[in-house]
């Protein structure tokens, strides 16, 4: 079980994020939950890339064992894309607030009916 410690941490973080997205009504809180979910995926990729006894993937003399550079490149761009999409989500929330006067899911639904 110790060998899968990283996956266990990732699953718990991911489920916390998923729980926030499902159970909480506040739209900003939902975005925070999505961010948590996203970060758990980042941690999963980076922990997969790690190698026992390896070092950061910057070539240097006398070092032969590096961690896997490919997930690093993927996640690096994903982080910046993530914040850009979160910003789009936040601006949608701001527009919803302007249109409905609130950002709670229940109240929005109530005002629709």
């Amino acid at each position: 079980m110790m060998g899968h410690f990283n996956s266990a941490v990732v699953i718990i973080l991911m489920m916390v994020g998923l729980y926030i997205v499902i159970a909480q009504g506040n739209l900003i809180k939902k975005l925070v939950g999505l961010t948590l979910f996203q970060t758990s995926v980042f941690i999963f990729y980076i922990s997969m890339a790690n190698v026992e006894g390896g070092t950061a993937p910057i070539l240097a003399q006398g070092i032969t064992l590096y961690s896997n550079p490919l997930p690093h490149a993927l996640i690096l761009t994903a982080i910046v894309v993530g914040i850009a999409t979160t910003a789009v989500g936040l601006s949608l929330v701001v527009r919803i607030k302007a249109a409905y006067g609130c950002i709670e899911e229940d109240e929005i639904e109530a005002s629709e009916n």
């Binding site: 916390v16 729980y19 970060t39 997969m48 993937p57 910057i58 490149a73 996640i75 910003a87």
Partner: protein, 325 residues
Amino acid sequence: MAVAIAIVRTRDLFAVTMLLSIYGLLSASFFVTLDAVDVAFTEAAVGAGISGLLMLVAISMTGRKEAKPKRKPFIALLVVSLTAGLLFYGISDTPDFALADAPIHNHVAPRYIQDSMAEIGIPNIVTSVLASYRAFDTFGEVVVIFTAGMGVIALLSASSENTQSKKAAENTLDQQHLVIRVVTKILFPFILLFALYVQFHGDFGPGGGFQAGVIFAAAVILYTMLFGLSKATKVFSQSLVQFVAAAGVLLYASVGIATLLLGGRFFDYNALAQTPVAGQHIGILVIELGVGCTVAAVMMIIFFSFHELAEQERQANKDKNRESL
């Protein structure tokens, strides 16, 4: 993890944002211990810095308190624990943590590690993968970021027509926080210089266009928060920032077109110069510059849009209060 659970419990959105920033900083340090220095760099700048700021500006417009949930979250808990159970069942098949001969390390990674010095000629393998081997992917990411920036403009600037009220909305923070203002003025050039260093040193150490763009934007955002939008837009006017965002994407794409015209494949930098390695150097430098321009400009666009709307709202509230008096 404790921080994550605290986020669920807390109903004060301001505190949630602070916790989210702490979480970002923690995961950045976690990435350092996992040997992913480039990623840690990005996460520290984005997760601990920019994302918290954006959340704060959004909260200032939407209100701080979260309502108490009316329904009991049993169904949600059930779904979540069911999914968790399935995932825990699934991990028993995955390779152990940090095993050197896990499948992931036997695919394309050995080639990147062994041959990238001879083929690309720069020590930072992450940069070679990002900017050369997988340049087409990265181009897609840059376009997504650019599109997100455009989306924020489209969503937020629809209502921003009254510009003359902006002048009066300044001076809110101007007169206070003397220490922070002096420190910011001293730090500002150094942050910009550091961003440029990160931009152009990305071939040799951790860094590159994405990190540099975020750091550059963070410096400008810090300045904007303290001195007001109108002072910041004297240098970084909306149209200039939007132009730079588009120019970055164009710069990136034109490198691809140039390699096509010179007889190579799309983003095959070997065609750019006499020797392949020199071509790779030129190609990576130019596209990293394009990435840096776009990321910095889009981050500024997003923050400016939010900030402008927030200032207008504050002004509108002030007017309303005056009328009611």
